[in-house]
């Protein structure tokens, strides 16, 4: 039966080529626009560490002065000052915990005549790699003792290892960074969470390659490497001694493996802040402990423009669907006579309805195929846009399948009204008229 409907539908679509082409084209444009923007939206609101994100939390506290504070409404600061970050780390309340800041490392290649260059670097503490599941190609991370001892060592990314050591195992070798010789203890496999969640608010970009150099925080500070972003909450006597200045420049992450651990940590954090208030260091008691995805939402990693584009694309699709409804309806009413004959020969309403839905479905599938082409074109356009995430905009399997879901749903929704009108048509008057 279905094959018969298919044949009928194809024949009817062929009879009116221009109208069919119009419907398919309009639907395809709407689908193409929707899939393009949804791909970007999905890319931007994606989970950078799917296997771990539910266990990673970002504690926030607020060392600002009392003025302007509204209890329950003022949000705590995004970054943390050095003493607080160290106090939280040393409490060891999570499975893992690390503090981090971004910086620029001046790398001096050993080769003669090679020019020095700048690389994105992270100054952090020992747990960083285990907590974020950063995979090692060679060697491993450093220990808490190395942190305290300001050990002259470094972990580098695979791409930097390729550039400097042609991809060979460089563990134990020395790299010159900011005029200091540092021993390489680990080389990472390609690792670049998208977005680079730990860099939010630390002054770095969110997308693209991962960081090239990872150094122990104390070591980097001893080498006078400074953070990319510093926010001061009181008058600063000496900006160079960031460890003691009233300035926030570190992001702290904790790994908490269970709901109970999260509740415990929040209690601990509140307690810590109350203790600081009692000591006279703090005036505000607001704290926050968001998980990774919650933190990204609060940081609004998805730009307004992208949301706006997605909304626009949906509006576009809606208009295309209305357009398709109109054209399908036009086609179906024109075939009143044919429907009358089929009804008179014994076709039930259900059968007529199915026949017209099959026809709509075919329009949808054709629109989907063409829409896929438009989406690929759209994504090609996105990749040529100036945004950081541009090069990541590709159609994956899910979006590929979703295109056809959207196409079928759109066309079937568009087909309901015409198919309904077709099946409730009384056969007798049509036969008479014909």
């Amino acid at each position: 039966m279905f094959a018969y409907y298919l044949e009928l539908a194809l024949r009817s679509l062929k009879r009116n080529r221009v109208l069919t082409a119009l419907m398919v084209m309009a639907l395809a444009l709407g689908i193409g626009a929707t899939i393009t923007t949804l791909t970007v939206l999905r890319l931007l609101s994606g989970d950078p560490l799917p296997q771990k994100s539910a266990q990673l939390f970002y504690p926030q506290i607020d060392p600002n002065a009392k003025e302007g504070y509204i209890e329950g409404q003022t949000k705590p600061d995004q970054l943390m000052a050095y003493p607080d970050a160290m106090n939280l780390l040393q409490a060891h309340r999570g499975t893992h915990q690390a503090a981090m800041a971004l910086t620029q490392a001046k790398v001096m290649p050993k080769q003669v005549n090679a020019r020095p260059f700048f690389s994105d670097a992270v100054m952090t503490t020992a747990d960083f790699f285990a907590m974020f599941d950063a995979p090692f190609q060679y060697g491993g991370g450093w220990t808490a003792a190395d942190d305290d001892g300001r050990a002259q060592l470094v972990v580098i990314a695979g791409f930097l290892n390729d550039k400097l050591f042609a991809g060979a195992n460089s563990v134990g070798r020395v790299i010159r960074i900011n005029d200091h010789d540092l021993r390489i203890v680990g080389v990472l496999k390609p690792w670049a969470p998208q977005p680079r969640f730990y860099a939010q608010d630390l002054g770095g970009r969110s997308y693209g390659d991962g960081d090239a150099v990872f150094l122990p925080l104390q070591t980097a500070r001893a080498m006078e490497m400074g953070p990319q972003d510093t926010e001061c909450y009181a008058a600063v006597p000496d900006i160079r001694h960031l460890e003691t200045a009233p300035c926030e420049w570190l992001g702290v992450w904790v790994e908490l493996d269970s709901g109970a651990a999260v509740a415990d940590y929040k209690t601990f954090l509140d307690g810590y802040v109350k203790q600081q208030v009692a000591l006279g260091r703090f005036q505000r008691t607001e704290t926050s402990l968001l998980d990774l995805m919650g933190w990204l939402r609060q940081e609004q990693v998805v730009p307004d423009d992208v949301r706006l584009q997605a909304g626009l694309a949906f509006g576009f699709l809606l208009i295309c669907v209305v357009n398709t409804v109109g054209l399908l309806l036009a086609k179906c009413l024109r075939r009143s006579a044919e429907i009358g004959v089929r009804r008179a020969l014994g076709a039930t309403r259900r059968e007529i309805f199915t026949q017209f839905m099959v026809e709509a479905g075919i329009v949808g599938l054709a629109g989907g195929v063409l829409g896929l082409l438009f989406a690929e074109l759209g994504l090609l356009g996105i990749r040529h846009q100036p945004a950081e995430y541009a090069s990541l905009a590709h159609l994956d399997t899910w979006m590929f399948m979703f295109t056809f879901v959207v196409a079928l749903v759109a066309s079937l929704v568009a087909g309901i009204l015409p198919a309904w009108r077709a099946c409730v048509l009384a056969p007798a008057p049509q036969l008479k008229a014909a």
């Binding site: 119009l22 576009f316 357009n323 009413l333």
Partner: protein, 407 residues
């Protein structure tokens, strides 16, 4: 033209008529808002910077290794840069417009004020304003003897109090002291106070993270930078000389210190164009969507119009046989389309206003100016008429003899 028969026909084709109206309404609503968004982006791209944009070049050069004679190195660099033929000014500064990297501080109007009035950006560098080419509207620029070394000030708290004077923008002055002259007024920054000695017409902030409303809140300080605390060399040259000057400057800087990394060498025009590239891309995309929408709507009207004409062939034939002229038939379909478009546009206006309210709530957009409504209406009327012309002409071509054939 008789409207009543048209209305009665439409009443018998409610669904089809409704679909046309709906499509026109949705298109009208989206296109009005999209065009408004485009105009907002274009306007933003015209943002006033206050500097001699077509004459400026930025070269970012970072030295490797510890600089023991950073101040001397900076002075030598600047002398070398000024010697390049075509260079009319050179300065070593902490920040440059449109580079998205800025130094900011909170500003207070009194010594005991607890909460800052606003946050403004700080431009440091000897001869910065003269090199940038800002326009002085009141007071004066800094005298040579007013400059202090930034490094010394940073190291010694007592020197901070000696900075003493600043130049601010007109917009910042107006914001701090509405309706008054900013000249001679005092502002408080952290522990120190400074007096305004000059006002410039404009000087845009390097980054607009705090929103476009505060784009002009800038202050310039008489502080001298050196190569250990600043790396942005700004050169001024005639527009045609810029490419040559860039090449000469890179060579001169490398000659002065071979261990330098030149991070960036661009004209301010290029930097500005990069700064607004997202706006440009968005505006382009919106234009594309608008055109696609209007085309789809027009094609929809053509499709439905053709169907309608085909369905009423007999009716048209009868009318022609009863004496209606071709023009009457043409007018009939044109009027019908005009009626549908008018209802659609009216609905679309309401919808456009609703979408605008939603955007105002979520994306900090201003209210849709009323002028968009008549323009949107005219555009959609025109498109409707153009789209229906084909089917209407086909209808007018129906011969009266059709009436006699099929009945």
């Amino acid at each position: 033209m008789d409207i009543l028969p048209i209305l009665s026909t439409l009443r018998r084709h409610k669904v089809t008529a409704f679909l046309v109206i709906l499509e026109i309404a949705l298109t009208c609503a989206i296109v009005c808002n999209a065009v408004f968004l485009i105009s907002q982006r274009l306007e933003r791209m015209q943002m006033f910077s206050g500097v001699a944009e077509h004459e400026l070049i930025q070269i970012q050069a970072v030295s490797i290794g510890k600089q023991n004679d950073a101040a001397a190195r900076a002075q030598e660099d600047l002398i070398r840069l000024r010697q390049i033929p075509g260079v009319t000014g050179a300065a070593l500064v902490n920040q440059v417009p449109f580079t998205n990297s800025s130094w900011n501080t909170s500003v207070k109007l009194g010594p005991n004020q607890k909460q800052a009035t606003l946050n403004a950006t700080q431009y440091f560098g000897e001869n910065l304003l003269q090199t940038f080419g800002t326009r002085l509207v009141a007071g004066r620029y800094f005298n040579a003897d007013e400059y202090l070394d930034f490094e010394a000030v940073q190291r010694d708290q007592k020197l901070q109090a000696k900075v003493g004077v600043i130049v601010i923008t007109q917009a910042l002055g107006e914001r701090l002291w509405p309706g008054q002259s900013a000249l001679g007024k005092t502002i408080y920054l952290g522990e120190t106070s400074v007096r305004v000695i000059g006002v410039v017409a404009g000087l845009i902030r390097p980054a607009l993270f705090n929103g476009d409303a505060s784009a002009q809140w800038s202050m310039a300080f008489p502080l001298r930078m050196n190569v250990s605390n600043a790396n942005r060399y700004v050169l001024r040259a005639a527009p045609n000389d810029r490419d040559r000057v860039i090449a000469g400057a890179v060579a001169a800087l490398r000659k002065a210190d071979p261990h330098r990394v030149i991070i960036e060498k661009k004209t301010l025009d290029e930097i500005r164009s990069g700064f607004f590239q997202n706006d440009r891309a968005m505006a382009g995309l919106l234009v594309g969507v608008c055109i696609a929408l209007l085309v789809v709507t027009a094609l929809g009207i053509v499709g439905l119009g053709s169907f309608w004409v085909a369905q009423r062939r007999r009716q048209i034939g009868v009318r022609r046989a009863l004496g209606a002229t071709r023009r009457n038939i043409l007018n009939y379909f044109q009027t019908e389309n005009f009626l549908l478009a008018t209802i659609g546009i009216a609905l679309g206006m309401v919808l456009a206003y609703g979408i605008n309210l939603f955007l105002m709530l979520h994306y900090e957009l201003p209210r849709l100016p009323a002028v968009y409504f008549p323009i949107g209406a005219i555009v959609l009327w025109l498109i409707g008429q153009v789209a229906v012309l084909g089917p209407a002409m086909r209808a007018a071509a129906v011969p009266p003899v059709v009436a006699t054939r099929s009945v």
